[in-house]
């Protein structure tokens, strides 16, 4: 009886090891392909780099919990993007409470060759994007940073393609107004 128990537990352990090995391989491959873009994407939604990297780290942890449910590995990146966007939304809802218990933020280093004017123009656009309503900001970042088609944005955000088009149009209009006001 004991031998059967040991064999069963070893078999289960072996299954578990295979499953977690596959999950680890998927996570490693996705990290190589997506981590940098995901941190940049998160950085458009949250206030500093530390927070953006924390969100991406948490997104990979959540992905590793549910890799067994992902039937199409091609969709894993889209799933990861939607986790990051949802985490950013929750992070901004929690707001200042979490900030009080966090270590000091790491500041983004500007590149040496970039001119001050170009940096200023870029910062102006990104700041205006951050001030938009959440859905408009999410749609614009996915469309113009990750260059996703409308259908994929809709799938990532759980919206209909028509709503995505509406958010994109409204977002661009609001952005134009904000940038005009600043100029």
């Amino acid at each position: 009886m004991e031998v059967v128990g040991i064999l069963t537990s070893r078999a289960e352990e072996a299954d578990h090891t295979v499953a977690s090995g596959e999950s680890d391989a998927l996570v490693a491959a996705l990290f190589t392909a997506e981590a940098s873009r995901l941190v940049s994407l998160a950085r458009f939604f949250v206030e500093d780099r530390t927070a953006a990297e924390d969100l991406v780290q948490e997104a990979f942890i959540r992905l590793s919990r549910s890799t067994h449910r992902i039937r199409d590995p091609e969709r894993a990146a889209a799933y990861l993007r939607s986790i990051v966007i949802n985490l950013a939304r929750d992070h901004n809802r929690r707001g200042l409470v979490s900030l009080r218990h966090r270590p000091p933020a790491v500041v983004d280093e500007p590149s040496a060759e970039e001119t001050a004017a170009a940096r200023e123009s870029r910062t102006e656009v990104v700041d205006a994007l951050r001030e938009l309503p959440r859905r408009q900001r999410d749609c614009l970042a996915l469309r113009y940073y990750l260059e996703l088609p409308v259908e994929e944005i809709a799938a990532t955000l759980g919206l209909s393609p028509n709503s995505v088009k509406t958010h994109l149009q409204r977002g661009l209009r609001s952005l134009a107004l904000k940038l005009e006001v600043k100029q």
Binding site: V27, A35, R49, R122, L175, A176
Partner: protein, 199 residues
């Protein structure tokens, strides 16, 4: 694309390209996943242990309790002992369990004087346990009570079950009131201590 779309696209791409990942991010992700798996494994074991323990307890109770054609006849003292164990379990487990959620709250309240905060928490723990111990001792019975109507039969009666449920409800109420008072009073005390320190 319009000029605005071009500007937005270029700005986001340039912003994205200007950022470098922290070199330790992958290590943090791997460590986070390992910790998460260990935590979830531990959680599953705890749940399995609780389910197993409760099933064993129930089986033991049903097996050891005398029965006849009219049903189970549990001696009154088994329910009394079981209730006392449950009260002890609630006092010893629920207090620390609630405390886990109050750490950030206490850290915020006693931000200026963390040592006072630690003493405050230890002292309130002592007060809680004294009150719980007193409650259990005051409500414990070593013989069937007259109003339980089971002095002759020596078996559990509906009145005794009602009384024991009342004891369980009582300790939960005490824990709730004490923690509620603590939540309200702690910020006031923290403020007073901070002012004293500044003066």
């Amino acid at each position: 694309m319009s000029a605005l779309e071009d500007r937005l696209h270029d700005a986001l791409l340039a912003e994205g390209a200007s950022r470098v990942l922290s070199p330790d991010l992958f290590a943090r992700v791997v460590e986070g996943i390992d910790d998460d798996r260990a935590r979830r494994r531990h959680g599953r074991r705890v749940v399995a242990a609780w389910v197993g323990g409760l099933a064993a307890l129930l089986t033991a109770l049903l097996t050891l309790t005398p029965r006849d054609e009219r049903g189970l006849h549990m001696p009154w003292w088994i329910l009394e002992v079981g209730t006392n164990l449950a009260l002890l379990g609630i006092a010893l487990w629920l207090g620390p369990f609630i405390k886990r959620f109050g750490r950030a709250y206490a850290a915020d309240v006693f931000h200026d004087n963390p040592l006072t905060g630690k003493s405050y928490i230890v002292l309130t723990d002592i007060v809680y346990y004294l009150i719980f111990a007193a409650y259990i001792l005051f409500s414990l019975h070593v013989a069937p009570q007259e109003d339980w109507h089971n002095a002759i039969s020596g078996k559990v009666s509906a009145e005794q079950v009602t009384f024991e449920l009342g004891r369980l409800g009582g300790i939960l109420l005490i824990i709730g009131i004490l923690h509620g008072l603590n939540i309200v009073l702690m910020p006031l005390l923290g403020r007073v201590f901070s002012l004293n320190r500044r003066l």
